[in-house]
């Protein structure tokens, strides 16, 4: 149904119908995922939206770079930050990233009433939530895994060719095993932190409130757990101190790293031996599933009203 072309007035060609392909569900989900991932890092948005995420990524890289530099000079393996400890050490920075960027994914399209435009198209409401969640998980994973990868690459590059020059350096095999464990840890961190931050942000439509709410919940939970653990440890109650870690996101995931991936703990008290690891892992799974259910309800309501 192309209207007749008049060569002199190219701008006046009439309306043309679209007769090309219309791709299906997987393409829509993929597009939505990429769109949200770009949005977290401010891509496709004005320059000021890029400042915060990239600044935080830069800050996350600094300790890793410094650690590698020190290792290169001293050849002392203990100067390399442990892979599994990186996220826990830098948790304030990660928390700021969660607080500033979760509202971009969770509440921006709620605030501007964009959601009904998706649901009036062939976009499923669960697909919509899943794509958003996956995008934020990926964004956090990139934030955490990039510096850890820098540590790993740095450790391999600065490693002397002659074993005798640095006898204390762990073998390449041991490094790699540790690194893979660290990556798995980063992945669990990404899932749990995304769940935690998105749910809070989805219920605070104003961006400023969202930022404050995520930070407040993070600070309150870690301060309370820290205090409880301190008191419990003071009274030699190691089990109570361990279980308390369930109630703040970073300790929760570190518990999984300790219990399941064999890392050494980076919090005052890891999960109790035995069932501790599996329980912490189950709680992580429950947090993620619960968050997806809550987000689904929230977006569905917003999209249909």
């Amino acid at each position: 149904m192309t209207s007749p072309l008049t060569p002199s007035t190219i701008h006046d060609i009439g309306y043309r119908h679209y007769e090309g392909r219309r791709l299906g569900r997987s393409y829509v989900i993929r597009s939505l995922f990429v769109h949200n991932l770009r949005a977290v890092y401010g891509l496709g948005r004005p320059a000021r939206a890029k400042v915060m995420p990239f600044l935080l990524v830069a800050i996350m890289m600094l300790p890793a770079a410094g650690s590698v530099a020190v290792l290169a000079i001293t050849k002392e393996p203990s100067t390399l930050i442990r892979y599994a400890a990186y996220a826990v050490l830098l948790q304030p920075i990660v928390a700021i990233f969660l607080a500033t960027q979760a509202p971009v994914i969770a509440s921006r399209e709620l605030r501007f009433h964009v959601v009904p435009l998706y649901f009036s198209r062939p976009v499923g409401s669960f697909d919509f939530v899943l794509a958003k969640f996956a995008a934020f998980v990926t964004a956090i994973f990139a934030l955490l895994a990039t510096p850890v990868t820098l540590l790993y690459v740095g450790a391999l590059v600065t490693r002397p060719s002659e074993e005798t020059q640095a006898p204390a350096m762990p073998s390449v095999g041991a490094q790699t095993t540790d690194y893979l464990g660290g990556m798995a840890g980063c992945a669990v961190f990404a899932f749990v932190l995304a769940a935690f931050a998105l749910v809070i942000a989805a219920f605070t439509p104003r961006r400023g409130f969202g930022v404050a709410a995520v930070i407040a919940v993070y600070l309150l939970s870690s301060a309370t757990v820290g205090l409880v653990q301190f008191i419990a440890l003071y009274n030699n109650n190691y089990d109570a101190a361990g279980w308390a870690g369930l109630f703040t996101p970073f300790n929760l995931v570190d518990g999984v790293q300790v219990g399941l991936f064999g890392a050494s703990g980076s919090t005052p008290q890891g999960p109790p031996d035995g069932i501790g690891g599996p329980v912490f892992a189950l709680v992580c799974a429950a947090v993620v599933a619960g968050a997806l259910a809550v987000l689904y309800g929230r977006f569905r309501k917003a999209g249909l009203s």
């Binding site: 043309r16 392909r21 791709l23 829509v28 939505l32 948005r45 921006r108 964009v114 249909l304």
Partner: protein, 306 residues
């Protein structure tokens, strides 16, 4: 094939009945849905999009059942909501491309269609600037563009003239008329202003309190009545007295005289009367019904017109 057909559609919310036993069918073209605020227009659109199951009753859009084929309906229709629905920090191009991809258009096609559609709704260089800086008129155009970008067979436009100044309103109405004629896309457009829809629609559906008040072609609303409107420069009352004396039913209305047309001779009597009194005749025309008169003299629901 009717583009929209409903049968006994009822929608109850706790404490409110938004739609009550609505049975209506409309053909392709530009269809106006008129009702006061809260008459159930937006609810009807949500039901027709298959997003909200009605309490009872059936409806089909483009011959697709709203209960079972909601997704297929949503692939084929476009929706422009009445409220603000645009993120301020992206450009119109970026936004409309994204919305095209959400309808399954491949990346290149999405870009081309977005550029074309934005041009058709009248957004040019400004489409690269963030939407936050747009005027109301420009925002309405972006909202319209995202509803058209995937080349739907039918668009639902919910109060597209809301918040526009008279000039913007006229442009939007002209655009809606073009969508229905030149673009060949059927339109269901809502408004609480009957007068503006009268100008662009082929068919008007009027609902009030969730009930069907009227559904008929615009031509039928505005058909010629049996009344003659006469306007003279001065001496209206003289003329009125003279014509009444000749046996015509005359009543004054404002500056005009409304005269019942008995037969052909009525025109001659008016002409002669004006000439004898030496008045200046400004206007003599057959009165057309105004669509607003439906509200002035409410009729019972007329049901479906085929």
């Amino acid at each position: 094939m009717p583009i929209i057909a409903t049968q006994g559609l009822t929608m109850r919310f706790p404490g409110v009945t938004a739609l009550e036993d609505l049975t209506v069918a409309v053909d392709s073209g530009v269809v106006g849905l008129v009702g006061a605020n809260g008459a159930g227009k937006s609810t009807l659109i949500k039901i027709l999009l298959g997003l909200m199951p009605p309490t009872s009753g059936h409806a089909a859009v483009l011959d697709l059942d709203i209960h079972r084929q909601g997704e297929r309906i949503r692939e084929r229709v476009g929706f422009m909501p009445e409220y603000e629905c645009l993120p301020p920090d992206v450009s119109a191009t970026e936004f409309v491309v994204h919305m095209a991809r959400m309808c399954g258009l491949p990346p290149t096609a999405a870009r081309e269609r977005a550029a074309d559609t934005l041009r058709h709704v009248g957004l040019y260089e400004e489409r690269y600037r963030p939407i936050g800086g747009y005027s109301t008129g420009m925002r309405q155009r972006v909202k319209l563009a995202q509803a058209l970008v995937h080349d739907p067979q039918l668009v639902f436009l919910d109060e597209p003239t809301n918040g526009l100044d008279p000039a913007g309103r006229d442009e939007m109405l002209a655009l809606i008329r073009r969508i229905g004629t030149e673009f060949g896309i059927s339109v269901l457009v809502t408004s609480h202003l009957l007068g503006e829809l009268e100008r662009v629609c082929d068919h008007i559906v009027i609902i009030d309190g969730g009930k069907l008040l009227r559904s008929q072609a615009v031509a039928a609303f505005t058909e010629v009545s049996g009344t003659l409107v006469v306007e003279v420069d001065e001496g209206r009352d003289q003329l009125s007295g003279k014509l009444a004396g000749s046996g015509l039913a005359v009543r004054p209305e404002g500056r005009f005289l409304l005269i019942e047309i008995a037969d052909e001779s009525t025109f001659d009597l008016v002409r002669d009367g004006v000439a004898e009194l030496g008045l200046r005749l400004i206007r003599m025309e057959q009165h057309r019904h105004h669509i607003e008169e439906v509200f002035a003299a409410p009729a019972g629901p007329t049901g479906v017109t085929p």
